[in-house]
Homo-oligomer: 339 residues x 6
């Protein structure tokens, strides 16, 4: 909450924001009488984690100028994210994207009903953002594989943004996220192949590297192959263990130019809400990386702590101070009450 | 609740259903953390009132086969409406229409943010409904001016349905409802001019008769002129007095073939929720009318009682037994607790 | 809250306690998904007001020894009522009486669905209470016309209790309350005629005096006639003005041995919950009366203040300190915020 | 939700419905301030699962014509159950049965406080239901051991219904459910012995077969003995493993005329609400059985999937589409979120 | 929400922020089971209204670096207020000020229980704020009479801040607010006499001018006298009519250098929450004034509209867009629903 | 709930009461919109458990005479605790202590933000309590290590109370509780060393015995050493196993004059709320001990059962009947639903 600190790193993220609508108490959508709201969006979630860690986080997006759009703006500001580069459009130029989440417990899977078509973001127009201005003084740019999937113009603008980041020598972080409800694997593949050479650090799962880049093997193997084949500086993975809906173990791996395979311990998590967990991991990693790109272990641990804490909170967003995240890095034992 | 009664009148209504999303406690959408759900849709609301009054009410519509669509179906069944003629479509063929309601108190007006584009209903296809089958044994057909406003095909199907009702000798009730956010006054005018000659009973406000049919004058004058000029059997109006958001007075007027101007007393209402009040009025009137078309006074009083009771309940739907509605017709004094 | 005060007056009340179940937000019982609980019972409500005013209030009743019975006991203790003379019985010997309240707004009346048959109280057995012990040091006994209506044994025990109070020279206060759902007017009449001669102070409405004692006329007339004809020391009335469900004006009248007709001003009330208002009036009056039986004006004003404050609170019970009730006696203007 | 499907199987169930009243958040009844409502009743729960699976499910019962009775009717209709054969009676002829549920977590057991005496159902009169009419076109009849336990007339009517089903060649399914708070083991035994010969398929636990029919041994043994000794076509069991209040493993076994012992895998369940789980199992099994009586494995798997999903939802009722239940049959891994 | 607008006016406010804790549904504090939170503080409230109107509003204050302090910061950011000049202190250096609000209805007054002693703000240290830096580019400074009442150092810093504003030629707005629970009338008088000569525009009630400056007479007289005697450029008043807790009429008056007495119509308000209404009035007035100091009528109308809208919302803060406030200025009739 | 029992044991406890404020659903304080209230305080919690077990439990404390103080009094009375010896003071003489609890799940620890400075209790004055009167007929006195930590005068009064108990031959129970936020280890040590010789039964953890008395070793060793070195009659321990925030195993150990080491089995607990668990253990143990000081095993088992049940309930207080606690002693298997 160090709002008065003189000089802080600055990270830009780009993507769609949505309102999540969740029936309380594991209820089904068809039977609920109320819905809990929460804000979300992969790159916005990452920006929120960055803000928790004291980074100036700028989220670039496009919102309708109505109550739904203002909801998202208000939540973003509340969580400390800079939205001065959001493009506000008239309601007629696009709606607010929504999705309904039904939270399951075993053996009923959680399920998402997307209602995001014709969103203000999906209908963005090329040239709407002044990237040169946006990237001034930026220390990093982050985007996920969801943004180019949203629409044709979003895909074009994703490429433009990355190219502009390259031009401005701003390191590009890319999360190899795939949403099957938005586009086909072959479309995604073509896009990811185009973007990969422009990326500095890639967050990816083993499955994603296989599907989109044909890289197969165990974790160590695919990470090394990804670095070589895709020409990225670093490849980062978060890994999960456990099949229960309310508990899991989490760890992280990273491979950078040093060739050393960094790895964290496994953290046990009692899950309150999974969504946004991967985005918090990215946020924590980026915050560590831009402080010291040579210390991938530190970046991984910040990512893991941020992600683990995010899992204990309702909604996509992390709420934690830097001190709490640092404490979680060190903690060997959860559940302790200090008084 | 007399589900076992042998023979009941049957009324068909046709229109879109939507989910209303309302921030509790007069909150603004941009600041709320939850939304209350309620079902609605002008013709569905009317069907619900008819069901309360012991009429077999069939609502014809089109819903997406997902949790949101099932929400509306479940609510309709719960309130006793027959949905066996609803057309279920794949999610890709249209979403569930939504709207956000912010409830104001003076001097802040309530406001509605529609999010109903590309709904399953709006995308209905001509010929999707078997009207001849639907109108078998029907005693009335009801539709409002909202249905043709929803989309081009909805407009076409509205005309078709009314023509088929005419063909089947089913009396047509039409509520001259205008939604400025859906179409222009000139488009509405053209449509309403086309439909009016096919209508038997029209619910209309003085303003509506002026705007769409150029009929001006005091209440008595315009109702008489409407009957003459539009060739309808009866013209029915509900009237409001009072400018406060939480209280109002309501009365009804009707002019039928007898030439006698029927009128009710003014009922004082302490408003909990205004939406659906007009649709309940229509439902009550239709129920009375089909029982005895020569007794417009009785029909008006059922309409007024149903509408007044609806105003005391959250949501668009009336919940009341026939006995309760009859009691409200007789009541001269509200607020009494019997025990 | 002056629990440490050395010597306090003591009042005994006798009657049934029930759990009220109310759908929130004016909802209908048939559509609600939750019910708010609150405790109630005419004589218990009066005991609670007495406790607010610093009187040792003992409520004599009969409760089932299960969670529902313990709910009522817990609430009574919380509000400062002494329940050491409550008779606890096995679940098999009677259930907890319930009632469902639907809160209406104009023109929909509030309605009560009683579910109180076979209650532990209704099934009380003669001789179960040691009245001599109970009335030791008591300054007053209060009972309403509801208690004898509950069951045959309750009626017998009501008479016994009043007779024992007479024997112990404890003044008897009686509220001429009639519940048409519990017994017929003729049964009530017979009972009330039997009890009246044993009563010292009667709370009665003009209608009640007419129905049960054949006393007709304007307020002043009937109160004087009641004193004469029934042989009571004082007759007390609370009066209401206004037909709106959410606002009303309240005042009180009393006629005692002095022959002077005491009367209060009219207090304007913005109603949150009407139930228990009359019982709070009785409680306030009794508290004043036992402090100074010659000052009926003071007793009336405490009764009116207690009743008015009760109307601003959810549930049958008053929550207020003596200081707040005294302040309400003096207040000429509500709605002021002091800070 | 396939309301428009031309021809569907039809199943009749018979039993009492009740309103469950549950303090939220594991609270004790004596301290709660609100109660959550949910509908329930063994045979009604089974009918709901059947409706989920696309079966025309008719629930035969008796309800008071008041808000509490209408609550149950509304919930039943909402979940797709046909209530046209429910008998509505005046409030004076019986109340709505209630029960209070306190949800425990280890080591505090959940506990039920029944308040169901003198219910409308318990007071049913012989000859009130036209069974010949009810069983027309029926494919199955289902009843549990709770129904005959409710009252003397309920026991008589249970026998009548089963005999009429036999007469109409409608297969009878019986769930050997025992409620110790309603009758003694010896009364239950006498009744079950009388009914067993009239039953086609019996759902039973090993304990139940021992207690009521003197059949002892391991699972396989008792199922075989039950078939032989009781003359039933099939014996079906659901089994539980685990002693934790919030997690359990479930599987099913069935033995039919083929002599082959069918068995499912164990499904891991993270429990939200256990009540109604057995009834959902019966519903799933019956739906499968009437589609193909020779494929007990399929019926078992539908039963297990329906029951497992029910455990993840608040209330006695299952809410799931046929597609979701089929997916649960196939799933080897819960907790997966598809997006 | 025009975050991207190039050049906006800038206003600084200075004062304490507090967390308001309110029992829901008119409940008493002693009986509630939950408390609703909302942020507040006179000058913060004014800053929020300014932000609604598109002004860059900087709130200067002091907060403890814990969850309670972060609550207030988060809410301020969410509502668009700049908190970069808030001083964060360790928990040991002061707590978060709280107050409990009991919302009454007639005749029970709302009541406030302050728990604000030893707050971080009260314990501020002289010289903690860099006023020269803070007032750079500022168009106005606003402070109320509450800030100097909080503590000795707060009083000193209030004077310092006003002197620094004078020095920087930033016009000073002062709201003559008196809190009897914080200091005596004589202390307040001495302080206000000291500050008045340094003030440009004073918001005052007739009573306040009488109490603290000995200015008596009707509204016009005292406003003229205040200008002369206190040497202020303008005197502004908001006036209330009506004694009901839930409805009131509001208007504004202002007298500036032109000598013309400006006055608005009376606006009818259905009150949801009164707190913060006066602060919103100040915010609206200031926003209008700094846009055009010669048009006091316009400033008054913005103030009145902002205040009226604030009364329709829960909490101290206004939530409205500039367009909505402008519309409220023009509105002649509330309660209209546009759709 | 046996309020009418003739003769019951009586226990006095002494300490501060506080209001706990908890954001619902694991939310962070900085983001919550409401707070759940619950009462607490180590010695009050113990008194509540004693009342559950049929003991007359008197809690001696000091409360401000305002809504917050009355909240705590009301809750105490509701749970059956005698508060006739609470000292009520004017608001100016001390506030109500508060604390905010954030409930975590792994790996986020629960955290407490205390806001208890300057409380009415902390500011108690020597000689305020008439201990001779208070200890009349008392069977035990209980105090924890928190009470002397609250303030200088609280420390003095703690010593006084214990000495007076000794004088009155009332056995003293002491819970070696340490709050690092209230005082230093060295201050605590000095105080505990002073109190220990005056104590009869000490509840202590192995860690506490080490820190404050320099007693090291395994459980058996330290308990024996404590008895010898500190001159106490009995040493009692509750032990926990498991590192998960939502599940744990609990057991108890006790060593008395007999020299026999008593020990219970381990009970598995699914945790709803941990706070107050230790205090309930003390309450259960004391209740058993004063019934039969020679049967430590029985006392331990009551303590363990009370503590285990407390963990299944929200808030610091146990709600259970004696019968339920006895049943929990016997239970070998939780989670069973009897119906």
């Amino acid at each position: 909450m160090s709002e008065t600190l003189p000089k802080r790193p600055r990270v830009v993220t780009f993507g769609e924001g949505m309102i999540r609508l969740t029936p309380p108490r594991n209820e089904r959508l068809e039977r609920t009488i109320s819905l809990d709201l929460s804000p979300g969006g992969a790159e916005l979630n990452t920006a929120v984690t960055l803000a928790c860690l004291g980074v100036d986080a700028t989220w670039v997006s496009r919102l309708p100028d109505n109550g739904a759009g203002r909801y998202l703006a208000r939540q973003s500001r509340a969580h400390g994210v800079d939205i001065s580069h959001v493009s506000w459009v008239d309601e007629d130029e696009g709606r607010m994207g929504l999705y309904f989440l039904e939270e399951g417990t075993d053996p009923r899977p959680s399920s998402v009903l997307y209602d995001r078509q014709n969103s203000a973001f999906a209908r963005l127009k090329p040239g709407e953002f002044d990237w040169a201005e946006i990237f001034k003084d930026a220390d990093a740019f982050h985007i996920s594989g969801i943004t180019p999937a949203v629409s044709e113009t979003a895909r074009t603008e994703s490429l433009t943004a990355i190219q502009e980041a390259n031009k401005a020598s701003v390191p590009v972080f890319f999360d190899l996220n795939y949403r099957s409800k938005l586009w086909s694997e072959s479309d995604a593949k073509q896009c990811f192949m185009e973007l990969a050479p422009l990326v500095d650090v890639m967050f990816a799962s083993r499955g994603g590297l296989g599907t989109f880049f044909g890289i197969e093997g165990d974790h160590e193997t695919v990470m090394a192959a990804a670095r070589q084949k895709l020409g990225i500086a670093a490849c980062v993975m978060s890994r999960k263990r456990g099949k229960k809906s309310r508990s899991l173990k989490l760890s992280g791996m990273a491979l950078g130019p040093s060739g050393h395979m960094h790895q964290t311990d496994w953290t046990s998590i009692e899950v309150v809400d999974r969504l946004g967990g991967g985005d918090a991991f990215a946020g924590g990693f980026i915050a560590g990386y831009i402080e010291d790109p040579t210390n991938l272990q530190r970046a991984l641990e910040l990512g893991l702590a941020a992600s683990a804490l995010k899992h204990t909170l309702v909604g996509d967003f992390l709420v934690a101070t830097r001190a709490e995240i640092e404490a979680a890095v060190l903690a060997t034992d959860g559940g302790v009450l200090q008084r």
